[in-house]
């Protein structure tokens, strides 16, 4: 299981990386916005994408749209972990095809639940 973590703050990437390691996912890579994430997704055989929304360069919602529009990437499960909390934004993300949405600040338990739920659905 190879996971890409996209967030413009290195501390947040590190927190997510540590939580994922705790859940048994040790194979992770990091990118600081959509523009750096996309080429990595194209060449890296990732199984899962965790992305922030608000980032300089390409935002998380645009990254999600690009992923869904790409024939090779469109089935990649995407979890959004973001401080963006407007209802219309959550609806927008859902319509763009997000698989899970976690608002910051979040707990390890919430992250675990959402990831497990996504895999349950992907595997069924």
């Amino acid at each position: 299981m190879k996971i890409l973590i996209v967030d413009d703050f290195s501390t947040m990437r590190r927190i997510i990386k540590n939580l994922l390691r705790d859940l048994g996912f040790t194979n992770t890579a990091e990118a600081d916005d959509g523009n750096t994430a996309l080429p990595m997704l194209h060449s890296g055989n990732f199984d899962f994408l965790v992305t922030d929304w608000n980032m300089p360069g390409m935002s998380g919602i645009d990254l999600l749209r690009q992923v869904r529009a790409d024939d090779r990437l469109k089935h990649l499960p995407v979890l959004m972990v973001t401080a963006e909390a407007k209802r219309e934004q959550i609806i927008e993300a859902a319509q763009a095809g997000v698989n899970g949405y976690v608002v910051k600040p979040f707990t390890a338990q919430v992250l675990k639940e959402k990831i497990e739920k996504i895999f349950e659905r992907v595997n069924s």
Binding site: F9, S10, T11, R14, I15, N18, W53, N54, S59, I61, D62, T82, A83, E84, A85, K86, R87, E88, Q89, I90, I91, E92, A94, Y101, V102, V103, K104, F106, V110
Partner: protein
């Protein structure tokens, strides 16, 4: 303010008085008088306008001086308060980032120590149970005793190390005090700047009245709203509980998504 009110009051009473006289002159066919009245009206309006623009300019200038952002001022070489505030906030970002990284470093160094102790303890415990059930031969017992001895020494060392790390994690939180002080100072500056800007807006509105300018507030508001497109993101919500269009936590997000069929 009183001075301003009276100059505006003068203008308005002259306007009223002259308007009546103007109608009167026109009705009586005294066109010369009418033109003279219009000329006087113009002069009063211009005088008021010049006065208000003058006040606005002076106020603007003193605002610029108090923000120290005038490049022609001798202090320009020193940092302006706004630049200073920006630097202070960058310092906050730097300090919080360092503290977060320091804390995570220490946690990452402590975790393997703790899991080593846990692993070795559970393995020893299994063998110890066998010993209690008298299932351990003399040779094996010597080996078990040696492992217990090593484990006790290692546990002591690791515990000391983890305690030291916990203490360092505690110390790494000192950023809260420093950043709190910096942010309070910046907040004071922002409040000051806001009240100065408000004063300028009030003065500008006096000029607007003399010049008869009306702003299309609706258009301005629409322009501002269009800048708030959801794709751009708003960052963390400070008053989530006071807004209807914002979720107040993960439970709200889950409810919303399940209502959408997720």
């Amino acid at each position: 303010m009183d001075e301003k009110k009276s100059s505006l009051g003068d203008f308005e009473s002259t306007l009223k008085k002259h308007a009546v006289q103007l109608v009167d002159s026109l009705e009586k066919g005294k066109f010369g008088d009418a033109v003279q009245l219009i000329h006087e009206l113009n002069q009063t309006r211009d005088r008021g306008l010049y006065q208000e623009v003058g006040k606005l300019t002076r106020e603007l200038h003193s605002a610029i001086v108090s923000f120290q952002i005038d490049p022609h001022m001798p202090q320009a070489e020193e940092v302006s308060q706004i630049t200073d505030a920006t630097e202070r906030l960058s310092y906050v970002v730097r300090l919080t980032e360092n503290a977060a990284n320091r804390t995570m470093d220490l946690v990452e160094q402590s975790t393997p120590l703790m899991s080593e102790i846990a692993d070795e303890a559970s393995s020893l415990s299994a063998d110890w149970q066998r010993f209690m059930r008298r299932e351990v031969a003399a040779d094996e017992f010597r080996e078990l005793a040696r492992r217990v001895d090593t484990f006790l020494t290692r546990s002591e060392q690791s515990s000391r190390q983890v305690s030291a790390h916990l203490n360092d994690i505690l110390l790494a939180q000192d950023y809260q005090d420093l950043t709190g002080q910096v942010i309070k100072r910046v907040t004071t500056l922002v409040t000051e700047v806001e009240s100065n800007l408000l004063k300028l807006v009030l003065m500008a509105s006096q000029v607007d009245r003399f010049a008869g300018i009306e702003h299309n507030h609706e258009a301005l508001r629409e322009e501002k709203d269009s800048e708030k497109h959801p794709t751009r993101g708003e960052g963390p919500q400070i008053h989530a509980d006071k807004r209807d269009d914002v979720v107040s936590g993960q439970d709200d997000v889950d409810d919303l998504l399940s209502s959408l069929g997720f």
